[in-house]
Each structure stands twice: as structure tokens, then as C-alpha cells.
């Protein structure tokens, strides 16, 4: 892999809950760990998918990268620069270079602005283009996302969900970013429209060598679009690796269960493997040891006491599980694994 564009290292984020006046006066606050010690890299032209169920912390990671939230600890480096040391000019450059596309196309555009103005807004903020130049650029951008440039004069409520999502993408592209965070970009769309948007995203990536951080809970879309996948559970990355290999032979019990839970659009190919039982525990009071152990069929005493660290289990695959070798039954599916040395106990928090 080429030098990573984005490096996330040891990222953690705690939120304070119950911050009413009274509880604050008495110092009676609760901390919720939304993200715990998350690290990953995204290379140029690469798509990394963050997957997980609600409460996994994947959106919080996205929000930290876009500086909506400040991390409690850990660093985010973009092209080698620590994101949280950026100020003024540099920060504006970063905001230009890193763009975001959101889930809900209906609420991601200001309903009172015409599509053209919305697409031109980043140009107004980041460039010195004249009004005519901006209009020209807007027309080009709309064509890039396969929309008629005449759409510039329409209001968002006149557009369908798919068209709105195209406008969102055009807005993100307006300032020639290198990196786009896609937060569930197709989950609000119908199947037939979803395919159009996925094709568009793939084409843009090829043409512009874009890097994507793809946040999603839809595993079939993730499988299709991403090069590498990081699976999150209760704020931690539990498994990370190349997409095809990970979907073929997951080594973390959670990944295995998650994949087994996905309904397959093929009645002859029903889900295999161990499905997930129970529900995601509350992040306010997470389980001891490995956060997944109460739902895990492979759990041993060790798991209730010690949270396994994310480690290289074999080439190109990391997993945080004491018993990963047991997962998936036959070990033939994966390359000869180097037996991992004893898990180094890692102090969390």
C-alpha cells in the first residue's frame, strides 16, 4: 500500500451523559465510551469500510475525522499532519480536502436554497471564483453526477431521493477533495436507485483516485464497494482485513455472527454459521473483559476478565479475540496462521 492518506491512531471518545445541572453540581456524571482505542489507515484511492450495528461508534469516528467532535485521546493524521493541530488556513485546506456525504438525502440540503446555490456554497467558502465561473463549475459538477445542469435552478423538494443524493455528492466534489467520508450514503435509497449511486461512487473513485471512508451497516453494499473492512463492536474494532477474505472467513465471532445474520437474496442459500443471539449491551455499563463475551459462543473464562487486544492474526488480518482460531470451524479457509504469542494485557481507559 502507498503512504496512507489518513491515519487514525488510538482514537477514543468519551461522552458525558446525565449532564443536568444538579448532577453536575454534585459531580455525579457518567461517562460513556463511544469509541475506544480505534486505529486504522486509509490509503490513496482506497475504500475502507467501517461496519457495525447501532452503537458501535462508527459514526462517532466519522464525526471526529470531520472535527465535529474532539477526540478524548488519540490522534488523527491527514497526510502526516495531526488534524487537531490544524488552525486557520490549514484547517480550511483540510475542510476542502475532506468532504462528507450523509445518509438522509432529504435533510442534507437546505430546503430554502436552490440546488445550484447548495453546490456552489463550498466554492464560495473556499475559492475566489466569480459568480459566472461558479455557475459554470456547478453545471460541470451536475453533469459529473449524471444530472441535467438545469437542475441547478430547482429546489430540493422537487427532486427525488436519488437525485438529491447526487446533488450531495456533487457538492462534496465541488472543491476537488481527496477524501470523502460516506456515512450510510445509500441506506435511505431504494434498491434500483441504490445501484445507480453505488456505480457513481465507484466511477468517481476510479476517475479521481479518491479515498473513501465508508460507514455502513449494510454488509452487502460494504462487500461490494470496499477494499478493506473494519468491524466495530461497542466502540472497538474487533476485526480488520481485506474485504473478500474477511467475508469469506471471518475470525472474530462477532463478524461471523453478523455475516450469518444478513439475509441473503437467494432462498437456496440460507444463512450459515452461528447467528447472533441477544442484543448489544448498553455502552453505559459495558460487560467486563471482552465486550462481546456475553453473546459469544466461544467465550471462555479468560474472555470475561481480559479484553483481547487487536492483533495481527495472520497476514492482512487483525482480530481482537482470545479464541479466534476456534471461529468458523474448519481452519482450512485461512492461510496457515502464525500462532500468536500470548496476548499482551492491555490497559484500557
Amino acid at each position: 500500500m502507498t503512504a496512507p492518506v489518513l491515519e487514525v491512531d488510538g482514537l477514543s471518545k468519551q461522552f458525558t451523559v446525565n449532564s443536568g445541572l444538579v448532577s453536575r453540581l454534585f459531580g455525579n456524571t457518567q461517562e460513556v465510551t463511544a469509541v475506544r482505542d480505534v486505529s486504522f489507515e486509509v490509503g490513496r484511492g482506497e475504500t475502507l469500510a467501517l461496519v457495525g450495528e447501532s452503537g458501535a461508534g462508527k459514526s462517532t469516528v466519522g464525526n471526529i475525522i470531520t472535527r465535529v467532535h474532539e477526540p478524548s485521546s488519540g490522534t488523527v493524521r491527514y497526510r502526516g499532519e495531526d488534524l487537531h493541530s490544524l488552525t486557520g488556513e490549514e484547517l480550511m485546506e483540510y475542510r476542502q480536502s475532506v468532504q462528507m456525504v450523509f445518509q438522509d438525502p432529504y435533510s442534507s440540503l437546505d430546503p430554502r436554497y436552490k440546488v445550484g446555490s447548495t453546490v456552489a456554497e463550498p466554492l464560495k467558502i473556499h475559492t475566489e471564483l466569480s459568480k459566472d465561473e461558479r455557475q459554470e463549475r456547478v453545471a460541470e459538477l451536475l453533469e459529473t453526477v449524471n444530472l441535467d445542469p438545469a437542475f441547478a435552478n430547482r429546489f430540493p423538494h422537487e427532486l427525488s431521493g436519488g437525485q438529491l443524493q447526487r446533488v450531495s455528492i456533487a457538492t462534496a466534489l465541488s472543491v476537488d477533495p481527496d477524501f470523502i467520508i460516506l456515512d450510510e450514503p445509500v441506506s435511505a435509497l431504494d434498491v434500483s436507485v441504490q445501484a445507480q449511486i453505488l456505480n457513481l461512487l465507484m466511477r468517481l473513485q476510479r476517475e479521481r483516485d479518491l479515498s473513501y471512508l465508508f460507514i455502513s451497516h449494510d454488509l452487502s453494499v460494504v462487500k461490494h464497494l470496499s477494499d478493506r473492512v473494519a468491524v466495530m463492536y461497542l466502540g472497538e474494532i474487533v476485526e480488520r482485513g481485506e474485504t473478500a477474505g474477511l467475508f469469506e472467513a471471518p475470525v472474530h465471532p462477532y463478524t461471523e455472527g453478523l455475516l450469518a445474520s444478513v439475509p441473503q437474496a437467494n432462498p437456496d442459500d440460507h444463512r450459515r454459521g452461528q447467528r447472533l443471539t441477544g442484543e448489544v449491551p448498553s455502552p453505559i455499563d459495558p460487560p467486563s473483559g471482552c465486550p462481546f463475551h456475553p453473546r459469544c459462543d466461544y467465550a471462555t473464562d479468560e474472555c470475561t476478565e481480559m479484553n483481547p487486544a487487536l492483533e495481527d492474526v495472520f497476514a492482512g488480518r487483525d482480530a481482537a479475540c482470545h479464541n479466534w482460531e476456534e471461529v468458523g470451524g474448519e481452519a482450512g479457509a485461512r492461510p496457515d496462521a502464525v500462532t500468536v504469542a500470548e496476548e499482551s494485557p492491555e490497559s484500557e481507559d
Binding site: E53, G162, M202, H224, D268, R271, E279, V280
Partner: protein
């Protein structure tokens, strides 16, 4: 198939009247729901699938109206029944419904026990004590651990998945013979979705309850349905057994839809897309409503004729001119599903139009 269908929709038509327009959201839908089957209704947003679900129990918004057809259930036409009779004997008793959002389906100010017993006592002549026992049984049936203790809990004390189980428990508390589930797993996490789907399947297998499952997710349908109806722009364009839908879909829309999902492609391969977007039902296209997006337009009738009638093709019913020998010269009746008579009929219709 010899037994009487549990629910039979005949030529059902539902129209919404807004200030400026009339929208026919469900147009000429005919289908039989057999006893003991899970029947899936799939389609994209705005295709009328939720309207169809709401129509069966006549839960339409004020501006919606059944403008034609019948809803035959147990020898009665629900479309003609009085509102009072419907509430007393059918809704919640014989046919019950589960909605998408479990958070708004439960009243936050009552315990789930109160909500369960309310439904039970409304429909069954039982004492408070019996109702409570029944409630516990219902919760147990849907897999809520230690149900007797949880009866006095409020909805907010349950997680999203558990809440949906409670909603299903309420729906099942009077042993309905038909359960309509409108997107019951949308918005739930996949692991919870799998559990709820298993539950629905379990209910269908272990009780005398048919299930109508409304969903946009082709995976969900493949998972638990026996037969599937595909809706497009208010029309039920195909009804087939689930195996046929996925292995040998009959209607071009079904074919195109399946081709557009990532599962049928290699990783990073360009997806096959359906051109355009679903039509605005305020001014639906002429002819077959799918023809502007169809890759298999086969005759002039597709563009200018009526919406095609239902053709029987093997175990499937399809509304597409491809299966009309008169309109599609290339059509060869591979199965003897289409008989002489139907060909004649359609010719007559055609002549009638001209």
C-alpha cells in the same frame, strides 16, 4: 392450494384525494393469501405496498378511499363491513398488524401488561386474571425472558428489538389467523432483524397464522417467505413462489430489480441499473406502468395499451405483455399456463380499445 384462501383481494383499488390531485396508489390488485403461508410483498418506496397493507384492515388516512374491488375474508367483504363491526370482530382479533416503528407502536404511559390485557379483554370474554395469564403466555411465545416479571415494565425499559417482540406479542395475543407485518425489521440492526424474522417464521409454522410481510428488502423476502408479490407503481406485477422469484423471475421489473443488487455481482463490478426512477403516480405512464424503464418492451401495447392483465405462467401470475401470445410474437407458451382462451380475451380487449 385446494383449500379456500384465507384472504382474497379482488381487483382492489385505493385512491388518495389531495387538494390538487387524485392518486391511485393501489390499482387492480388481486391476490389470494393461503392459510399457513408467509406471503411477501416487495417493492420500492411509493409503490403502494404499505397502502395495500393498511387497506386490508381499512386503516387508510382520511384522504384515502377504497374505490373498487373486494377484500374477501372468511366469507365477508371487509371493504363493505361497518367500521364498528371491523373493530369488534376483525381488527386485532382475526387479523392483526405490526408496524415498522416499535417505538411509536406502544403507548409510553402504560405498562406492556396493561397494553396486552387491554387488547385481550377487548376481544375475548375473559377475566382480568385470565387475561394476565394469557399476556404472560404471549410474551413467552415471542421469546421475552421471564415474561411474568416484565409484564409491569414500561416500553422504555425494553430495547428496540424487545419492543418489536412486545408489539408482535400484542398482535398475537388473540390468536389471529392473519398477521400483517409492515416493514417489521426496518430500522433494526441485522442481528435483531434475523431474530425477529426467525420469530415470524416460527409463529407461522407453529400456529394457524398466515403472515403477510411487507418489505423493501429482497434478502428478507428470500429468507422467510413462501410466495412473493412484487409491486410496482400501484400494480401487483408478479406473484410467484419464492424460488421462482429468485431463480427464474417472470416480470422484467423483478428481473431488473434482482440484477441491481450487489449480491448478484462480483466485488467492485459495475452494478446493472434500472434506468430512470419510479413514476409519479399523479400522472402515471400510459400502457404498462413499467414500460419507460423496461428493458424488454415487446409490443406497442406496452406503451399505449392498458396495463396488462394477469397472465398465468407456471405457478406465477404476471402482468406483462411478454406472456401474451397475441401481443408478443416471440412468445411461446413454454408451459401450458396460458391457454387459448386468455389469448382471445386479450385480443378482444385490444379490439375494444380501438
Amino acid at each position: 392450494m385446494s383449500s379456500e384462501p384465507r384472504l382474497s383481494l379482488q381487483d382492489l383499488e385505493v385512491t388518495y384525494t389531495t387538494k390538487h390531485d387524485e392518486v391511485t396508489a393501489v390499482d387492480g390488485v388481486s391476490v389470494d393469501i393461503q392459510s399457513d403461508e408467509i406471503f411477501g410483498v416487495v417493492g420500492e418506496s411509493g409503490c403502494g405496498k404499505s397502502t395495500l397493507a393498511n387497506t386490508i384492515l381499512r386503516l387508510l388516512d382520511d384522504n384515502g378511499e377504497i374505490t373498487g374491488g373486494e377484500i374477501r375474508y372468511n366469507g365477508r367483504d371487509l371493504a363493505e363491513m361497518s367500521e364498528k363491526g371491523l373493530s369488534r370482530t376483525v381488527r386485532g382479533r382475526e387479523i392483526s398488524m405490526v408496524f415498522q416503528d416499535p417505538n411509536t407502536s406502544l403507548d409510553p404511559v402504560y405498562t406492556i401488561g396493561q397494553q396486552l390485557t387491554e387488547t385481550i379483554r377487548q376481544h375475548l370474554d375473559v377475566s382480568k386474571q385470565e387475561a394476565r395469564e394469557r399476556a404472560v403466555q404471549s410474551l413467552d411465545d415471542v421469546g421475552i425472558p421471564s415474561p411474568a416479571d416484565r409484564l409491569d415494565d414500561y416500553p422504555h425499559q425494553f430495547s428496540g428489538g424487545m419492543r418489536q417482540r412486545v408489539v408482535i406479542a400484542i398482535a398475537l395475543s388473540c390468536n389471529p389467523s392473519l398477521l400483517i407485518a409492515d416493514e417489521p425489521t426496518t430500522g433494526l440492526d441485522v442481528s435483531i432483524q434475523a431474530q425477529i424474522l426467525d420469530l415470524l417464521k416460527d409463529i407461522n409454522e407453529n400456529r394457524d397464522t398466515s403472515v403477510v410481510l411487507i418489505t423493501h428488502d429482497l434478502g428478507v423476502v428470500a429468507e422467510i417467505c413462501d410466495r412473493v408479490g412484487v409491486m410496482y407503481a400501484g400494480n401487483l406485477v408478479e406473484v410467484s413462489p419464492v424460488g421462482v422469484i429468485y431463480n427464474d423471475p417472470k416480470h422484467p421489473y423483478t428481473q431488473d430489480l434482482l440484477k441491481s443488487i450487489p449480491e448478484t455481482h462480483d466485488i467492485k463490478e459495475e452494478l446493472t441499473v434500472i434506468k430512470g426512477s419510479p413514476p409519479d403516480l399523479r400522472s402515471p405512464p400510459s400502457g404498462c406502468r413499467y414500460h419507460p424503464r423496461c428493458s424488454k418492451v415487446c409490443s406497442e401495447a406496452c406503451e399505449t395499451g392498458e396495463m396488462p392483465r394477469v397472465y398465468h405462467e407456471g405457478e406465477s401470475s404476471v402482468r406483462c405483455y411478454i406472456y401474451d401470445a397475441a401481443e408478443n410474437p416471440e412468445y411461446e407458451a413454454t408451459t401450458n399456463g396460458t391457454d387459448e382462451q386468455s389469448g382471445e380475451q386479450s385480443q378482444q380487449t385490444k379490439r375494444g380499445e380501438q
